[in-house]
Amino acid sequence: MKNKFSLLKEILIILSISIVLGFTVNAISPKGIPLIGSYGDRFAIDSSKSKNSDSFKQRGKLNKAGFYQPVNIPGEVAKQMFDEKIKFIDGREPHEFKEGHIKGAINIDYKEFKNKTKEEKLEILKNFPKEDIIISYCGSDSCEVSIDNAYEMAKIGYNDMKIYLGGYKDWKKLNYPTEK
């Protein structure tokens, strides 16, 4: 019995230290996160009824970090924007991009892109005016590089980023134009 009790004590002490350390550091750190995250916001397909691209042409909210948040768009809206010659960037790796991508899209491999300096990033994106709407996508809604690229670009001054979460998988399903 004494053994069981001291085991419980050990566990409680370890967990208490972890909880105290965790919450304290989180509260102090500039990189701290809220106790309850809103995953709906970042990951959900936009649930507004409109399928008209005009209603998605608004910029996202200006958030506390000082940049405009990317806006999620559904497939039909992405297509309307495609027809308006709006540019797409594909966040996947080059070999995935080569196997098939949205017609006219440019490959920006997030894994390489994120390590670049701000100047290098802007150099890569020099053909993309900052005031333009740009759509970021990747393979599907299971991968995140669409979101990651959009936020990276928003942080360096691209104020009108859209995220097409459905990605290449959804685009192909809807039989929209692709190329290799």
């Binding site: 004494k2 001291s6 370890i14 701290g32 309850i36 995953y39 990951f43 393979g139 299971s142």
Partner: protein, 154 residues
């Protein structure tokens, strides 16, 4: 049985398991938001618990790992680590079968996992779990066999 009770074996196992967990915790401690997203991708927990897990779990790994290395609270830390490993194994396995595209969130938070990476992680975790359980059960027995009062307080 004698081999498993060998105190040198136990020291080695403690260093391996403890060291592994300290190492694994560091990237998560420094990148809580990315770790929270990695947890989200396993689609295993309800959304409201995700951030709390992202905040507390890396510290539990760190603290338990350090305690295991220095040899204090061996049973408590090895039990906590064993439970975490069981949870990881369940999460990894269900992610594998559901075909989820996850960033493993194990070491580097940036590595996107292929299915083969997941299998590798599962195998590694099974070995760690076995090691951790050996530490747990054998530490307890050493205490029982030892009549030294100071040790039973641990």
């Amino acid at each position: 049985m004698n081999f498993l009770s060998n105190k040198y074996l136990l020291i080695v196992l403690r260093l391996i398991v403890g060291g592994f967990f300290v190492y694994a915790s560091l990237d998560k401690l420094l990148n809580q938001e990315a770790f929270a997203r990695a947890i989200y991708n396993y689609k295993f927990l309800p959304d409201i618990f995700i951030n709390i897990q992202a905040i507390v779990m890396p510290y539990a790994e760190l603290v338990a790992g350090i305690l295991l290395i220095i040899g204090i609270f061996k049973r408590g830390s090895s039990l906590i680590i064993s439970i975490m490993l069981i949870i990881f194994l369940i999460a990894l396995t269900q992610a594998y079968y559901r075909g989820l595209d996850i960033s493993c969130g194990c070491f580097s938070l940036e590595t996107v996992s292929q299915k083969s990476d997941i299998i590798q992680r599962i195998i590694e975790d099974i070995f760690l779990l076995i090691a951790s359980l050996i530490i747990f059960f054998k530490s307890k027995l050493i205490l029982n066999n030892n009549n030294n009062n100071k040790e039973t307080l641990q």
